[in-house]
């Protein structure tokens, strides 16, 4: 299945990686450790996982507005997700991704939470100005 979305911070070529997915809202400040990329937020179902080098898919941002600085910082420390994909983009996540040069797409259909699971492999690419995330076939 292919999910289409809006390109927020573009990239070239294909991004392949392991999926880290949650229906929860994420505050990059507090929920994610800036020094390691580990998920700290106690009420998140992905607590204990690490966002680094993952295709991170979540509903939308919440909480602290310094979250943009955390995304930027993760990127400078080479701990950022390979791709951030959200159902709804808010300013905090957008500005962190753009300043940090972290590939980001938004307006992904919520159906993605039914299709993809943590640890699945996925591929993301840009085609005709739209971003696409595709589940890697398990063949």
């Amino acid at each position: 299945m292919i999910f289409r979305g809006l390109v927020i911070q573009g990239w070239s070529g294909e991004i392949r990686g392991k999926v880290l997915i949650t229906r929860s809202k994420i505050s990059f400040l507090g929920d994610i450790d800036l020094e390691t990329g580990k998920v700290i937020g106690a009420d998140l179902d992905i607590k204990g996982e690490n966002v680094s080098s993952k295709i991170l898919i979540f509903q939308e941002g919440r909480g602290s507005t310094a979250g943009s600085n955390v995304i930027y910082g993760l990127s400078r420390r080479k701990l950022a997700p390979k791709l951030i994909a959200t159902c709804k983009a808010e300013l905090i996540t957008i500005s962190g991704a753009i300043f940090g040069g972290v590939p980001m797409i938004s307006n992904i259909d919520e159906k993605i939470f039914e299709i993809l699971d943590n640890g699945n492999e996925a591929t993301a690419y840009i085609k005709d100005n739209a971003a696409c995330i595709e589940e890697e076939s398990k063949a």
Partner: protein
């Protein structure tokens, strides 16, 4: 988006790479949100200041900006730092941390962002007027100025708030537009809040329940004080992302029920009883005894400092516990004149500026359990200390009884 000739020039890099980058961010945000154009702002609040929250990457970014000849074009103020900028030694903040923190604040100052270092700029010299468009970050300040003051801001991140301050403009979108300021969630408050922490717990519960961009309209809390609303708004901006709320018959854009919903029906309804509020208290209940009792998230107002002074007067802070209150410079000055600060200090407590229990390195100072009257702080403390420090909530009165003897 429609850009003026001058804005185009900035985007083309004619005014240097920093403004180009700032303009690129603002126009990207504007395009994504179908903004028609940029509109001027006169005030900004810039988050991303505490060294604990943003670390070396933001320190280096802001220093890099400060080396170039750019300045903000608005009255811009910094969010809380990781320490009292003058009395950090009394807080036992490590030297290495302090050095980096001072560098961050100096770099922002060089860009023209004042080192006020408060999350309540609206109480300390950067207060927008009703209807004024501003570019604020700091989720609690966004909620307060939108909802209680009736100013207009989107929920900016630290980096886009800085960009907007440098350009002096924001994209015309979101909560700046009348049609997005009407309520869509009807919240029936079916219990009687007894103190400020009940309001915080209410906000915390609602923040988690309200869906994307939801504007809750509270019905049934007519007697809330400004401090109650400050704690409520801060909590629902932490557990969720509420940037604007209304309280019927109390906040300036909620004169009557049909007006506040823009003549439409609410999208959905929430009922909050004592049971829901109790679930928030249960979430933040801890067995440990606190080694720090901290008030001032968001930063205390003069009224709150007065109440603290009244409650603590004649009591003494226990040796095993610290009692710290956090506030902003102008509020401190006023409370000091009224004698509240000396009452708190002579009881064995302390009052610090520029920082709070969420963004100061409390786990490095050695604290392991904090009690507070703020649901926002209780939410962030374990997260910001990598679970080294636990947090519990209780009303101001209970907090003071907990850490003092008569």
């Amino acid at each position: 988006m429609f850009l003026s000739r001058e804005e185009e020039k900035i985007l083309d890099g004619e005014k240097g790479w920093i403004l180009e980058r700032a303009m690129r961010l603002l126009t990207t945000i504007g395009d994504l949100n179908n903004a028609e154009r940029l509109v001027p702002i006169k005030r900004s609040q810039v988050a991303g200041v505490s060294y604990k929250t943003v670390g070396d990457p933001t320190l280096h970014l802001v220093e890099e900006f400060a080396r170039e000849n750019v300045r903000v074009r608005t009255k811009a103020t910094q969010n809380p730092a990781g320490m009292d900028l003058k009395r950090w030694r009394e807080m036992e903040v490590p030297d290495g941390f302090a050095e980096k923190q001072l560098r961050i604040c100096r770099a922002y100052e060089k860009l023209g962002v004042e080192a006020l270092c408060t999350c309540t700029p609206y109480l300390s010299g950067n207060r927008p007027k009703f209807g004024e468009t501003v570019g604020f970050s700091e989720s609690s300040a966004v909620a307060f100025v939108n909802s209680v003051v009736g100013a207009r801001t989107n929920r900016h991140g630290g980096l886009d708030a800085l960009s907007a301050a440098l350009i002096g403009k924001v994209p015309l979108m979101g909560y700046l537009l009348n049609e997005n300021r009407t309520g869509d969630v009807y919240v029936k408050v079916c219990f009687k809040p007894m103190n400020e922490t009940d309001y915080a717990a209410l906000g915390y519960y609602v923040g988690r329940e309200v869906k994307t961009d939801g504007v809750p309209v509270y019905d049934g809390i007519k007697n809330a004080s400004l401090d109650d609303l400050k704690l409520l708004g801060a909590a629902s901006a932490a557990s969720g992302s509420v940037a604007l709320f209304h309280v019927l018959d109390l906040t300036p854009e909620a004169k009557n029920i049909s007006g506040v919903f823009g003549g439409k029906k609410p999208k959905y309804k929430l009922e909050v009883t004592r049971e829901e509020v109790q679930s928030v208290y249960d979430e933040f209940s801890v067995r440990e005894r606190p080694d720090l009792v901290a008030i001032g998230c968001p930063h205390s107002s003069v009224q709150e400092l007065k109440k603290i002074a009244e409650l603590i007067s004649g009591r003494r802070v226990k040796r095993s516990i610290r009692f710290w209150v956090f506030t902003s410079p102008k509020v401190f000055e006023e409370a000091d004149k009224s004698g509240y600060i000396s009452v708190i200090r002579s009881a064995g407590g302390d009052v610090f500026l520029n920082t709070c229990m969420v963004v100061a390195p409390i786990e490095e100072i050695g604290f392991r359990c904090v009690y507070t009257n703020s649901a926002k702080a209780a939410f962030y403390i374990p997260r910001m200390t990598k679970n080294k420090c636990k947090s519990g909530i209780a009303s101001l009165r209970t907090c003071i009884e907990l850490c003092t003897t008569s």
